[in-house]
């Protein structure tokens, strides 16, 4: 079953990303310990499925996760920055 945007938001939030802007899409930023921008990713509103596996793979790369790690974080309900 494809992941949903809600699940994607949940995982990136657990990995230190903060929602910085909500317009057509959401812009999430991950900061380092000194408050500097480390990574950015985008998420769609709502809870639709991310149906395209290749797009999901590109999103994972953007947020610095492997698919295995993504689902691991989702299952455990907690994560660490990577």
């Amino acid at each position: 079953m494809p992941p949903t945007w809600r699940e994607y938001r949940k995982v990136i939030k657990r990995n230190g990303f903060r929602l910085e802007r909500s317009a057509k899409h959401e812009t999430w930023i991950q900061y380092d310990d000194r408050g500097r921008v480390r990574r950015q990713t985008r998420a769609s509103h709502g809870n639709a499925e991310i149906r395209d596996p290749r797009f999901f793979k590109a999103l994972l790369k953007q947020c610095g996760k492997t698919e295995e790690r993504f689902y691991s974080v989702l299952r455990k309900g907690r994560g660490s920055r990577s």
Partner: protein
């Protein structure tokens, strides 16, 4: 500072600009005025910093990615993916500008693209690679 634009024929309009025409490509200091084969004229400001985008096929649509920023866009068609990418880039650059963000060295170059917000979207990209019949998968370029 210079910018390069593909297309042509082109006529430079900026006083003092250099005109370097080769196979439809012009390098100019700031502005250029393309002239279509029908004789229509228009002007387009070109930002001194520009982006590259790659559009690749997904399983159900198309994925657009900015090489320099790593931003992503998605759509059923390449144009939709590019439009989505522009939205994602604009949102990210607004966050950087309005928050006066500091960046880690690996992404420090993102800051110089903030000035794109003052430029027309049509000039944001120096190149866009569109998918062909044998284009790589999204996973290869992401």
């Amino acid at each position: 500072m210079s910018a390069t634009a593909a297309g042509g024929p082109l006529k430079l309009v900026e006083p003092g600009s250099r005109e370097l025409i080769s196979e439809g490509t012009v390098t100019t200091d700031f502005r250029y005025s393309p002239i279509s084969s029908q004789g229509d004229r228009y002007r387009l400001r070109i930002s001194p910093v520009r982006l590259s985008a790659v559009v690749s096929r997904g399983d159900e649509g198309f994925i657009a990615r900015s090489i320099e920023l790593g931003s992503l866009g998605y759509g059923e068609h390449p144009k939709e993916a590019l439009a989505d990418l522009i939205e994602a880039i604009r949102d990210y650059l607004i966050v950087l500008r309005d928050g006066d963000k500091k960046l880690v060295p690996a992404v420090a170059h993102h800051a110089r693209f903030v000035e794109l917000l003052d430029e027309p979207e049509e000039s944001w990209f120096a190149s866009v690679d569109l998918p062909g019949p044998t284009s790589p998968d999204a996973s290869d370029v992401a």
